[in-house]
């Protein structure tokens, strides 16, 4: 009863119209304007384009900061505000307006996106300085920021989908930015196709919402959940999860993220670490009402998170490419967030909390990796690094702070957020709590191992394993300053947010009972011990011992991990090959030698198409016969039916 009244109270406090949301459109408009000017202006904007894009991104952050401060001045129940932009699709009963929802959750994202995004704009000024296509790069970055803001500010699933597709497009364009290299273009295509699978899930989920609730805006869907059956909610929840898996590189749609590292490093930092890949977590948390009505779907979210966090961690142990190791780590950390989001009300706030701290420390480490590559002639093989701490002091220190943060060493950022997730997982209780809790705990140990491995192999170790003629040097200030800012965040953000009461601040978004926080001291001690064990193991193997310049063959697990646990082979074996064989057997038995590698479904349709095409033989007489057959068939069908 108590919870019911409380949830009614929060429903009643649903977004007020206008208010501080009135200027929220500026957040999106500014970077969108930048993208438009740079793309349409062509070569004329080459000179000032990058600086303009960076400025507009900062301007967007400034607007966000003003809205945030206004929000702080209001009472907790008045902080959510809604601004209707225009009546998007007025089709009879299907009224659909495009509007922005500014609440605690979306503002957390807005600040993360605009702040980290702007820092990465600045970093890119240095990183991309000599690239002839610099302007196009900045245009895409602005496009990304604008789309991502649409995604998090949308007040309906349909508008969210627009942003969702927009960030997908920006990600595609940026992964394939150096598309003169065919391997990079292939990576972009892979990301595109895997993401399509996820997008299909999301779009079907939206259609099902239409069918179930008659509306697709968040407020109506949340209000309609009580009237829907559990089966409907479970179906919608699972489809949303498919969407989230695609965008956030969660098992089983994780294969694209590693390849996406083909893009320029600032892109990896912004899109494939800090912001876009976390959109899946946002989607799940935003849809909390649906998942609470569908416990099975919620459990599926937690399971997907648990599998991915271990999967990413294991893969991360074997990667020698610094960016791919970081990518595996991203996958694993998002697994943590997913798991937290799947725990229910107890985990939402920590999922978002970890998302924010992760956004800082992972972006910082990616920028650090970029700085290392910048100094080492684009070398990415960690076996050819070693003892870089002397040559690149700033990079070393800033990266080190990120490393401490991800390990969860107090008082750095990860400690405050990741530890809470581990605690919450155990707090679920029962077998489920034990399984999920142990997964997070073991994950923490492996994370400590592979991140320390990465850190030691790059900056420490017995000797320098550089290729001949390498003269590592520190990067210019445009690159180091953003790294320093982010590393301060890695150091302090967790503590600040924890003491400022981030969980309470987010609470009105989810409603329900506010649960008390109490720290589980023994568990924290065990976690730290596990982390320390992972760290020591890495120290012993990669600092004290010599690291071979060429990767040793390793045991079976290492080999498997190095091959991403055979994800591509599995994809190929499970989906592509049977599809291809099936189509060969069914369609191409008489037309041998058709290139079947185009993929199963495409080949089926292609085969069907070639068959049909024969009807189009160019003879009028057979066209006329087709028409006559059609007429007779339609008449026949109707005659039989009536």
């Amino acid at each position: 009863m108590h919870t019911l009244i409380q949830s009614l109270a929060t429903e009643g406090a649903a977004a007020t119209e206008g208010g501080h949301a009135a200027y929220a459109w500026l957040l999106i408009a500014l970077p969108a304007l930048g993208a438009a000017i740079l793309l349409l202006g062509g070569k004329r904007t080459n000179k000032f384009g990058p600086a303009l894009a960076t400025g507009l991104s900062w301007a967007s952050f400034a607007v966000g900061a003003v809205i945030f401060v206004t929000m702080l001045g209001l009472g907790a129940e008045e902080r959510a505000a809604h601004a209707e932009l225009w009546n998007w699709i007025p089709a009879g009963q299907f009224q659909l307006s495009a509007g922005l929802l500014v609440d605690q959750l979306s503002m957390s994202f807005v600040l993360l996106i605009t702040f980290v995004g702007s820092l990465i704009h600045v970093y890119s000024l240095g990183y991309m300085e000599h690239d002839p296509d610099k302007r196009r790069f900045f245009a895409y970055l602005n496009l990304f920021v604008a789309s991502m803001l649409v995604l998090v500010l949308a007040d309906s699933y349909l508008l969210l989908f627009v942003g969702w597709e927009g960030v997908g497009l920006a990600s595609y364009l940026l992964i394939g930015f150096w598309n003169h290299n065919p391997a990079y273009a292939t990576a972009a295509n892979k990301a595109f196709f895997v993401n399509r699978v996820g997008d299909l899930g999301l779009s079907i989920a939206i259609m099902m919402m239409f069918a179930t609730f008659g509306k697709v805006d968040f407020a109506s869907v949340n209000a309609g959940v009580d009237g829907a059956s559990t089966t409907q909610l479970t179906a919608i929840g699972l489809l949303l999860l498919v969407g989230a898996c695609g965008k956030s590189a969660q098992f089983p749609l994780q294969s694209w993220l590693g390849d996406a590292m083909a893009g320029p490093t600032p892109v990896s930092a912004l899109i494939h670490a800090a912001t876009m890949v976390t959109a899946g977590v946002y989607l799940v948390v935003r849809s909390h009402a649906i998942f609470e009505g569908a416990p099975n779907a919620q459990l599926a979210v937690a399971i997907v998170g648990a599998i991915t966090l271990l999967y990413g961690a294991i893969v991360g142990c074997a990667k020698d490419d610094i960016k791919k190791a970081l990518a595996a780590s991203t996958m694993s950390q998002i697994g943590y967030m997913m798991l937290a989001a799947g725990l229910g009300p107890i985990g939402y706030a920590f999922a978002i909390f970890h998302l924010l701290t992760h956004g800082f420390f992972k972006a910082g480490m990616f920028l650090g990796a970029g700085s290392v590559m910048h100094g080492m002639n684009d070398q990415v093989d960690m076996r050819r690094f070693g003892r870089l701490s002397g040559a690149m002091k700033v990079t070393w220190v800033t990266f080190g702070l990120g490393w401490l943060a991800i390990l969860g060493i107090p008082p750095f950022a990860g400690f405050w957020s990741k530890d809470k997730i581990i605690e919450s997982a155990f707090a679920v209780g029962g077998t489920r709590g034990w399984i999920l809790g142990l997964a997070t705990l073991i994950g923490a140990g492996i994370t400590a191992f592979y991140m320390s491995r990465l850190f030691f192999m790059t900056f420490h170790g017995k000797e320098k394993r550089w290729t001949d003629g390498q003269h590592p040097h520190e990067s210019p200030a445009t690159m180091t300053v953003p790294m320093i800012v982010l590393s301060i965040g890695s150091g302090l953000l967790g503590m600040i947010l924890a003491f400022a009461g981030f969980a309470q601040w987010l609470h009105p978004v989810f409603g329900g009972e506010e649960h008390e926080e109490h720290t589980n001291w023994p568990l924290m001690a065990i976690t730290l011990l596990v982390v320390a064990a992972g760290l020591l193991l890495a120290y012993w193997r990669y600092w004290r011992e010599e690291v071979p310049k060429r990767a040793p063959e390793g045991n079976l697990l290492t080999q498997a991990a190095r091959a991403d646990l055979y994800q591509d082979a599995i994809n190929e074996g499970l989906f592509m090959r049977p599809g291809i064989h099936l189509t060969r057997a069914l369609v191409f038995t008489d037309t041998k030698g058709v290139d079947a590698t185009a993929g199963g479904l495409a080949a089926t349709i292609g085969g069907f198409s070639s068959r049909l095409r024969r009807l189009q033989n160019g003879y009028v007489r057979s066209y006329a016969l087709t028409m006559l057959t059609g007429v007779v068939a339609v008449l026949g069908v109707l005659w039989v039916m009536n």
Partner: protein, 521 residues
Amino acid sequence: MSAAVPAVFEAVKVDYAAIAPMLVVVGGALIGVLVEAVAPRSTRYGAQLVLTLATIAAALVALFVWAVPHKAVTLGQSLAIDGPALFLQATLLVFGLLGVLAMSERFGGKSADAFTPMGASSPGSPQEAAATRAGFATSEVFPLALFSLFGMLIFVAANDLITMFVALEVLSLPLYILTGLARRRRLLSQEASLKYFLLGAFSSAFFLFGAALLYGFSGSSDLKLIARAITTNSSQMNGLLLPGAILVLIGLLFKVGAVPFHSWTPDAYQGAPTPITGFMAAATKAAAFGAILRIAYVGLEVSRWDWRVGVGLIAAATMIVGAVLSVTQTDVKRLLAYSSVAHAGFILVGLLSFDGNGIAGVMFYLVAYGLATLAAFAIVAMIRQGGSEATHLSQWAGLGRKHPVVAGIFGLLLLAFAGIPLTSGFTSKFAVFAPAIHSGGTMGVLLVVIGVLASAVTAYVYFRIIVLMYFTQAPEDDVVALTPSVATTIVVTVGVLATLLLGIVPGLLLQLAQDASTFLL
């Protein structure tokens, strides 16, 4: 037998204000014929172009000033100037204006670039060469286009099966000729023209037969009286209704390229001069759907439960075949032809919802699709290799690098055809699918499911072209995009702006279409 009543000849009342746009267009076309006869050859191109554009502009003005406030059923019940008719007539006039602008493109030459100097000469003959040397130009394409436009304007307003048939022929005959006038690949063009003509005649026969059966059923060719005969169930020949309805609808479905009456579409689209293809795809489709709307919602609405399934089957087949066949196309024009077939299927889904929103959705779709198509074909006409149009897909490889703007615009139009959000393609698909789900019953839902799957297939096709333009190494060849004149630039700009605006703020036009979705009886 009752005694024969002596026929009293009564002069029909004509509401001239309501039909003013049509009168202006046919007047302009007739003057165009005179210009062709008397004006010296060197001035004809300019004179015809100015005359045609002025005619269409005047018709548009007449439409808004006189016809819109004067909704009426006039000319002895044979023309209904009502909401849908006016909306579609305005649409057709805009398509006509843009179509004529695209036809007038010269690319720096002396006469319209897409048309042969002498339509009557056989391809490759000395006669043709002589005509080229002498600088002949077929400037009669402009009056022909006007005549066709005139037929279309009647077609969407025809309230009577005979008027509708006459309009059908008036709009078709000039198109048959225009299809055969391509400057390049003359044989293909003439073949397309002949095929289009033969199959068009075949489908006209179906229409006429159906009209005769409906007359036999109801004793009238007036749509309102046919509807009344169905309602009162007064006929002794009930068996004639269903075959009559289906045959009339089939005659019209031929014009929109519905499967299995679509076979002419790829051949005619490929062979026709590219601007004519664009005009056909946009305007003919709009006109034919206008006529189908009127037949389905005014004449045969009461008996729809009998024939709906038949048209539903056709819609499903149209979407599937159009989408699937577009996969293996290697020629841009043929690919767009199959795409237009698939789009006809999507529109039929909305049409079958029998709901005011369905009418509005169909009309909105026609505007959105037509404007994008006109622009797309205008761009196809610009891509050249060695002087002739480079329509093979392999020639488009790497175009994005050589001509980023042109390829970018074409990419945007393809995204609209694929129905990506924030383009007109998305809103228009939404506008036809939503009413189908809402009031189309089980069949409506099934059709929408097929429609969504078919759009997924077509999306693959369009994305493949985008990938081809941007991510494929351009072969070392001389494929170029010619610099267009103001005329083509206007067509492309309007198409692009409409594609974006109708995607982002479709509310205005949707509202307009909804307000205009009531038929006068």
